[in-house]
């Protein structure tokens, strides 16, 4: 003879079932972003991008003084040097990695490898690699050796991945924008359509930025693409004494 089930146990059972369903739902809600991705829209594309999928225009950051004035002057010098045909050097001219978040600009495709505990991003340009650890606490800033990629820790919440990066070296700069060692980079990854991913990147820096600065990188899937190697071994660009990028000629070109 079966005993009647107490209402409280019924309720508990229903709660457990609900929790399990929610957990399964949450797990299902995590999109699969593993794969190869190219920047969207393609730089030389002849077809206009879908405005619903294209990233919003970023503009320039609002820096605090005296950094704002120095940055404005740098931009002026860059324009002036370009007009003269003597472009000022940046790290790229010397094959120095872009780091975080520059590598996410994906001048060439990127590959994302998603596992439950880690997301790995490999950029074809320069063979740059970054690792994002999931569901772990980031070490404090003072324990992170400053570097090109810093320390990235993230978590999925529903269909959105949030990643915080600390410890990007002060001379590792996105588009030459200056920052302090306290820079925090917050990224939100989200599929805005089945095959278009947005990485919304916000720079927070209490010392340098008057307000947080946001740029969005958009990518489209490259289903059949195989990543190519990129070893920066034959760099003919060099920086002269005035900080200008020049091209080293073939030794016989001077004849």
């Amino acid at each position: 003879m079966s005993k009647p089930i107490a209402p409280s146990r019924l309720l508990a059972g229903a709660c457990l079932a609900l929790i399990a369903a929610t957990a399964a739902g949450a797990a299902l809600a995590e999109p699969n972003i593993t794969g190869r991705w190219a920047r969207y829209p393609r730089p030389a594309s002849q077809t206009p991008p879908d405005p619903k999928l294209a990233p919003p225009r970023a503009g320039e950051p609002e820096l605090k003084e005296p950094y704002a004035a120095a940055f404005k002057e740098l931009r002026r010098k860059q324009r002036e040097s370009d007009e003269k045909g003597e472009p000022l050097a940046n790290g790229g001219a010397e094959c120095i990695p872009g780091g975080v978040p520059s590598m996410m600009g994906a001048i060439y495709p990127i590959e994302i490898l998603q596992t439950p505990k880690q997301i790995t991003v490999i950029a074809e340009a320069g063979s740059e690699v970054r690792r994002i650890y999931l569901d772990e606490k980031s070490p404090p800033l003072e324990d992170i050796p400053p570097g090109y990629y810093g320390a990235s820790y993230g978590a999925w919440k529903g269909n959105e991945l949030t990643v915080e990066t600390l410890g990007v070296r002060e001379d590792v700069r996105y588009r030459d924008i200056p920052h302090s060692s306290k820079l925090k980079i917050v990224e939100h990854f989200k599929l805005v359509s089945p095959d278009v991913l947005h990485d919304t990147v916000t720079f927070e820096d209490p010392d340098y930025l008057a307000k947080p600065y946001t740029v969005t990188f958009a990518y489209q899937r490259l289903p059949d693409y195989k990543m190519l190697e990129y070893v920066c071994e034959n760099n003919r660009s060099y920086v002269d004494a005035n900080g200008v990028t020049r091209m080293k000629l073939d030794p016989e070109s001077k004849k």
Binding site: G105, R175, L228, E233, T245, K255
Partner: protein
């Protein structure tokens, strides 16, 4: 610059501004003259399928019985692969014709726009119009 060139340059400039600027372009291309392009016909001395750029060393007759070596910078192997090039598509000894954006400082070098091979095929360096280069 023709009206069409100017229009293309304008469209490309607007397109470039419309999105987050791609960080990490290997270097600025402002050292090259994107308007006064030159055509060079010569013999390939070197073809370097390397990063960050592919280079062609081209010996061009100077009209007085000698040759002058031009250093021609191309895009990267990655970009060129995507527009149909191969690592062995050009070999030393090949006779080719190249359309280049010369170095503004007058040195014998420049950046490739197109290469016409001995078999008549013309390959693009994949540059969008108007001197907005992302490679």
């Amino acid at each position: 610059m023709t009206r069409l060139d100017r229009l293309c340059a304008g469209i490309a400039a607007v397109a470039a501004l419309a999105t987050a600027a791609p960080a990490g372009a290997h270097h600025s291309f402002a050292m090259f003259d994107h308007v006064n392009r030159i055509t060079l016909k010569g013999t390939v001395a070197k073809f370097e399928w390397t990063n960050p750029h592919v280079f062609i060393g081209l010996d061009v007759p100077d009209g007085a019985g000698a040759t002058k070596r031009y250093t021609v910078e191309c895009a990267s192997p990655n970009v060129l692969t995507r527009v149909g090039w191969k690592f062995n598509i050009i070999k030393p000894g090949d006779q080719i014709t190249v359309l280049v954006n010369p170095l503004k400082n007058g040195d014998p070098g420049g950046m490739l726009e197109t290469a016409t091979l001995a078999d008549g095929r013309t390959l693009s360096d994949s540059n969008p119009p108007g001197g907005v280069f992302q490679r």
